[in-house]
Amino acid sequence: MAVAEPPIVEIVGLAKSYRRGDQVVPVLQDINLSMTRGEFVALMGPSGSGKSTLLNLIAGIDTPDRGRLAIEGVDITGLSEGELARWRAEHVGFIFQFYNLMPVLSAFENVELPLLLTRLDRRRRREHVQLVLELVGLADRADHYPSQLSGGQQQRVAIARALVSDPTIIVADEPTGDLDRQSAREILDLMESLNERLAKTIIMVTHDHLAAERAHVVRHLDKGVLTDRIERPRARATG
């Protein structure tokens, strides 16, 4: 039973503020959120509502002022920078709005990046990379550099990079924000497919209602506070 499953992401009383000069600007206040394995959650809200900040906290690239943030039962708020880096390498896959691929590395090399932090030998890394490139439909573009790929293809490479180390969660910050409608739909299809076929846990920040529709749960943030929760049926037809 899904309800009885322990949460993969568990956030309790999370708060974050930024200092602007002498002023302390609260960004997130008393956030409580729980996600189970294989869940696809979309975070929506107006600009400045704290969506990306919450995503960064969950991904372990920012630290909260207070509260508990546990991923697979591990409270990451107490980890040092080095520990967080190692934790991210193992548990988090990132998909960014602007892809953030290394321009001097080929698609293959970009996807291989997270595996360089593992103990896998070259042959195993090659197998993993080829597998995920096939999964995102770019096996024939492995040697291409980002500048030789379209925006949609670059985002597919980024998705492959996020997947390759088989992370616990995938965080996506406006993954379709820089794409045309057709490419955006393809990327969302791919993410939905990964979630359904591989049971990947995805948390996605988006402004796009069409993108949010692909998620099982849509949470709204307003002025740093989580407001309504909309649940959608899990099984969806793709394409």
């Binding site: 900040t53 960064n56 991904a59 690239i61 920012d62 920078e81 080095g82 880096a85 190692r86 991210r88 390498a89 193992e90 988090v92 990132f94 960014f96 602007f98 953030n100 290394m102 321009p103 001097v104 590395l105 990046l113 997270p114 360089l116 932090l117 990079r161």
Partner: protein, 387 residues
């Protein structure tokens, strides 16, 4: 991981080929200039460096301008630990034109050359020189420069010893090693003394310096004291010192110029360091998002530092290597062009090492600020700052 980082460093270097090329060019020029200036300083000290620890120079205590009586030779020779004594006078003649400068010395032929094995003269030429009172021996460089051959008449116009002088070239010496001055001109002191006897009789039988070869170099300080003590309170008191100290006393006269040259050589390095630091800061700023991405993925601070430091070092060391490579032909050209001023203008073994160390220092210093900023960059800030 190291292989991957090295590959990324190499590719990053060529992301802006023009920027990298211009920065490397600046380093090439700076390192070559640094090496050339150091070689200039070395050339200044070449005489002192080539001097022997087993030879003393004895001169008039008041000044080199004042001579010493020739009979001092016999008294010095009798001291224990003295192997041989020779003597010499600075001539300072002009060959056709004042700009044709080369050092000229009147020497005692039988004792002088055995004391200086670094001047290699074919035995038959040495014999011919010793037998001809008007004979002269000249260094290879000067002979080549003026196209002199053995048997040629060499006219000189005296300045210290006025008059028209003529010598017959009896030998051409080669240096025993690259550090031997091959520009000097030697002739018989007797030849000089005879003329002095005739035109300035009260200046006859006096020499500029005595050269004392020692049995044991370690006795130099004691023998110097002994010689000077022997002639204390005489009408020509002596100042004895090692050949090196004697040579350095000439260098000391131009110490301010040497200091300026050394300061300029380091200023060049500081300037290129600032240029390189600016380039690296600009480069690192452009790649903040990439560093943030790498750190988000799980790469740690030291990986990012390695990328920046590696790129900085690669550019600076590549530029340094080319600069050092260019230094040799350039120094050879300078040495040839200014042979009159610098008879020995050779890149020393220390110079490329110092230049390489400077190139590495440029790379390290230039990487410090951007590497520190990248290492302390918060991942979220790296993304936030650029959209």
């Amino acid at each position: 991981m190291a292989w991957f980082l090295a590959r990324l460093v190499l590719r990053n270097c060529f992301r802006h080929p023009l920027r990298t090329a211009l920065t490397a060019l600046g380093i090439i020029v700076a390192i070559t200039a640094f090496g050339l200036l150091r070689t200039t300083v070395d050339a200044w000290y070449a005489g002192a460096e080539a001097s022997s620890a087993s030879r003393l120079v004895v001169r008039n205590k008041n000044s080199l301008m004042f001579p010493l009586p020739l009979y001092y030779r016999n008294r010095i020779e009798q001291l224990e630990g003295v192997k041989s004594v020779s003597y010499a006078d600075w001539f300072g003649g002009i060959y056709i034109d004042r700009k044709n400068f080369f050092p000229q010395f009147a020497v005692e032929p039988l004792s002088y050359f055995p004391m200086y094995p670094e001047f290699v003269v074919p035995p038959e030429q040495m014999k011919a020189f010793q037998l001809d009172r008007r004979g002269a021996i000249v260094g290879r460089k000067t002979a080549e420069k003026y196209g002199w051959k053995v048997g040629d008449q060499i006219p000189l116009i005296g300045t210290v010893f006025a008059g028209n002088w003529s010598f017959v070239l009896r030998g051409i010496y080669h240096g025993a090693d690259a550090r031997t001055d091959e520009s000097q001109f030697f002739f018989h002191w007797d030849n000089l003394n005879e003329t002095v006897k005739r035109i300035l009789p009260d200046k006859a039988n006096q020499v500029g310096i005595f050269l004392v070869a020692l049995e044991d170099p370690s006795t130099a300080p004691a023998l110097s004291k002994q010689i000077d003590g022997m002639f204390a309170n005489s009408r020509a008191e002596t100042l004895s010192e090692t050949e090196k100290a004697f040579q350095l006393s000439f260098v000391a006269m131009t110490e301010a110029i040497l200091l300026v040259i050394q300061v300029v050589s380091f200023l060049i390095i500081v300037i290129i360091m600032a240029v390189m630091a600016n380039t690296m800061a600009m480069t690192a700023r452009e790649r903040r998002r990439e560093y943030a991405t790498l750190k988000a993925i799980g790469f740690e601070d030291h990986h990012v530092v390695a990328l920046i430091a590696g790129e900085s070092l690669l550019i600076s060391l590549a530029g340094g290597a080319i600069g050092i490579w260019l230094l040799y032909p350039l120094a050879a050209w300078v040495g040839h062009r200014f042979a009159t001023i610098f008879p020995i203008f050779i890149v020393s073994d220390r110079t490329p090492l110092a230049a390489a160390a400077m190139a590495a220092l440029i790379g390290v210093v230039a990487a410090c600020a951007p590497a520190w900023r990248a290492a302390t960059l918060k991942v979220a800030d790296g993304f936030r700052a650029l959209g």
